[in-house]
Amino acid sequence: MDPILQLVNISKRYGGVRALERAQFAVAPGRIHALLGENGAGKSTLIKVMTGVVQPDEGRIVLAGTERRFAHPQEAVSAGIACIFQELSLMPDLSVADNICITSPPTRFGLIDRKAQRRIAEAALARAGAEDIHPLAPVASLTLSRRQMVEIAKALAREPKILILDEATSALTAADVGRVFALLKRLRSEGMAIVYISHRMNEIKELADDCSVFRNGSHVATFAAGTQSDAQTVEMMIGRDIAHAFPPKPAPRSDAGTPALETRGLSWNDRLHGIDIAVRPGEIVGLGGLDGQGQRELFLALFGVLKGVSGEVRLGGKPVSVRNPKHAKCSEIGIALVPEDRKTDGLMLPMSVNDNLSFAALDRLSRAGTVLAAAEGTAVAEMVRRLSIKVSDTGVAVGTLSGGNQQKVVIGKWLMNAPRILLLSDPTRGIDVGTKQEIYALLRKLADEGAAVMLYSTDYAELIGCCDRVAVFFDGRIVRWLAGADLTERALVSSALNLETEAA
């Protein structure tokens, strides 16, 4: 079938940095076209060109046979191109219905017709398979996964001809992913052209008809789905062979020895119930389960962010009560938390790489309230080298780095304190394959050096490949422990859904 949208020889530069170089891309109605590539490969820029967020320096955009230029996102929207962004495009203070209808609300006598708007919102939510979301609820009151469903409903309400999903499923719970997949297959059969971006190969395998691979801003190859193996595809993406994604695990050790961190009956509100968990030095313990089952709250409770936590926390056998993050990071406690949202909780985006890296360790890098510039510079340079953070000058704003390098800065910021206990909340979300591997290797290395690591991840492969043991959460409780040969995708999924599992 003829493509409905074609990008021909698109080039785009930011300053001296080449984001796209004579890139080609085309998508046809009734097809799902997967866009593959590492972060920084140019996928995001390509989407921004398609949606009118940025203008290409060179090249043509051909929509349904005619050449177009989109000077503003509005023009792309009215041309029938809707995009579901990885960074949510929702207004948190407005209601779900207001958000869905923001671009062109129904009006009567020049005023917004709330009844009609509500009907549109309900229809769009139903179409996205999220009819349980109340249209009048403020978006801020919804969980991340539900917000993403609103985002999808918002795109559908515009009746697009071309739908672009940029990592749209990375924040979704397993149940919502299922709904979105069913929806996308239905939309494909209705003749919509769909561009799908994801770092999860199994999703692409299930959905895609065509695949295009990008690397370093250039188009590498386009092929029909299923004609290339995973290994071949990954090789195209990174331009080198990846032998093993995960570092080898050490042999399971005995349960002897004092845990570095142990909780007994940890509870908070109605979100955490009697959590008993122990992590020994040298161990990586995974937190599994569906999104939002209390894993995040456990980390926040350990880090001293939550008020009214009951139960006992022991560090090296001694009971402690962590008052706040400042207390948590002090050398007697030594807990570090890498938060899930690096842009809001992890980094000060406009500040430099240097300032971000040293920020949590300024106590150690200063004397009488003055930062010791030389010591800071040495420590920062050492960390940049240790994590191989790709940055020409540590004075640049951290917001200008790619997602993978930003995440390395967040991790490095906490390694500066040499923590004994490292908590990581979904550290590889939206990060390219190469950086993921580096992070896995780093975690294993830290554990080998004696740190106790807790890793919460929404990616089952990661839990299986990285962790010695996994605690599966459901509704604020640990419902199952998995380790060794029991630690399989099937066991993780079934216990995450709290299904009766067959005897292990």
């Binding site: 009215s78 948190p92 407005l94 207001d98 923001i102 609300p105 109340h134």
Partner: protein
């Protein structure tokens, strides 16, 4: 699943709280007042309160977009000086004068918006500067206090309607019905709230941000001019006073906050600001009926204002997750 009524109540709870605060303060005031609930007392109180209420409404609009307008008080003063020249003579001439005054206010707001959007300057510094310029115009128009205003119009708007209802309250209702409600329910007002909630998300949704901001500041200028016009009807003169402009600007911000609009934008209502302004005015009157030493009045006014704005923050004490403090 919660009902529709729950979400409606949730949306308007800040406005309801401001209204409750005002009713409480006003009840104390009336109870303590020597004469109490009589037509002259109510008329005087509403004449003073409506002026601030309208300026507070003007302030609400930029604040909802996450901006601020430090020039509202100066536009208010400029409209007052202009009206003391133009709103005189025959009813026809006076009516023409009213139109010119309102247009001038809207133009001031438009200039603010245009500089903020096209000059890409921060609202706080833009309106600080333009406010001084507008005050310069006021001084040029009225180097010394004076002038006059069409008496028939003034008496009608500042007097009492049959049944003892202060006419000024009806004017306020008309402004709410003709300016605020259409704005709030229009596509433009929706876009303004969206900008305050998340400007990046609004842009990504394909909404025209520049136009929305310019219209918002223009309507703010129009509302400030309506306030200045009404001031002329109350005082029967024009006065280029930097003190009046400054006090109205700062009080309008306080009224907006008491009314439950968050200064970072995105959520709130001009109706809340009206009750915020009423409450603020009543605080001043309370000190009067309690016979406080005039020297102590500013101190007490400040303390009561602090208490009033703190009420809205009480819920923060209940937060179990300290991260929510920063959200």
């Amino acid at each position: 699943m919660p009902t529709d009524a729950y979400f409606h109540l949730r949306e308007h709870r800040a406005t309801c709280a401001a209204a409750a605060l005002f009713v409480l303060l006003f009840a104390v005031y009336i109870a303590k007042h020597q004469v109490g609930w009589t037509v002259p007392v109510l008329t005087t109180a509403s004449n003073k309160a409506v002026l601030l209420a309208i300026v507070a409404m003007a302030q609400t609009l930029p604040v909802l977009t996450g901006g601020i307008d430090l020039s509202v008080g100066m536009v208010f003063v400029l409209a007052n000086c202009l009206a003391s020249h133009l709103v005189v003579g025959t009813p026809m001439e006076a009516a023409f004068g009213v139109v010119v005054v309102l247009a001038a206010g809207a133009l001031c707001g438009f200039v603010n918006g245009a500089i903020i959007v096209y000059g890409r300057l921060q609202p706080i510094i833009t309106t600080l500067a333009t406010g001084i310029v507008y005050f310069g115009f006021s001084l040029g128009l009225r180097p010394v206090p004076g002038g006059d205003v069409q008496a028939g119009l003034a008496d009608a708007l500042t007097g009492t309607l049959p049944g003892g209802i202060p006419a000024m309250l009806v004017v306020l209702l008309a402004v709410v019905g003709l300016v605020w409600l259409p704005y709030r329910r229009s596509v433009l007002g929706r876009a303004a709230l969206a900008i305050g909630s998340s400007e990046a998300a609004t842009y990504m949704s394909g909404v025209a941000i520049g136009r929305t901001k310019i219209v918002t500041y223009t309507v703010a200028g129009l509302l400030a001019a309506i306030g200045g016009l009404l001031l002329t009807f109350v005082t029967f003169s024009g006065e280029a006073s930097a003190a009046i402009g400054g006090v109205y600007t700062l009080n309008s911000i306080a009224a907006v906050v008491i009314g439950g609009t968050v200064l970072s934008g995105g959520a709130g209502s001009a109706i809340g600001s009206i009750f915020g302004a009423f409450a603020l005015r009543t605080i001043g009157d309370l000190l009067f009926v309690f016979d406080l030493e005039p020297l102590w009045q500013p101190l007490f006014q400040g303390v009561i204002l602090l208490v009033a704005v703190s009420v809205g923050s009480l819920r923060l004490l209940k937060l179990d997750n300290r991260l929510d403090l920063f959200r």
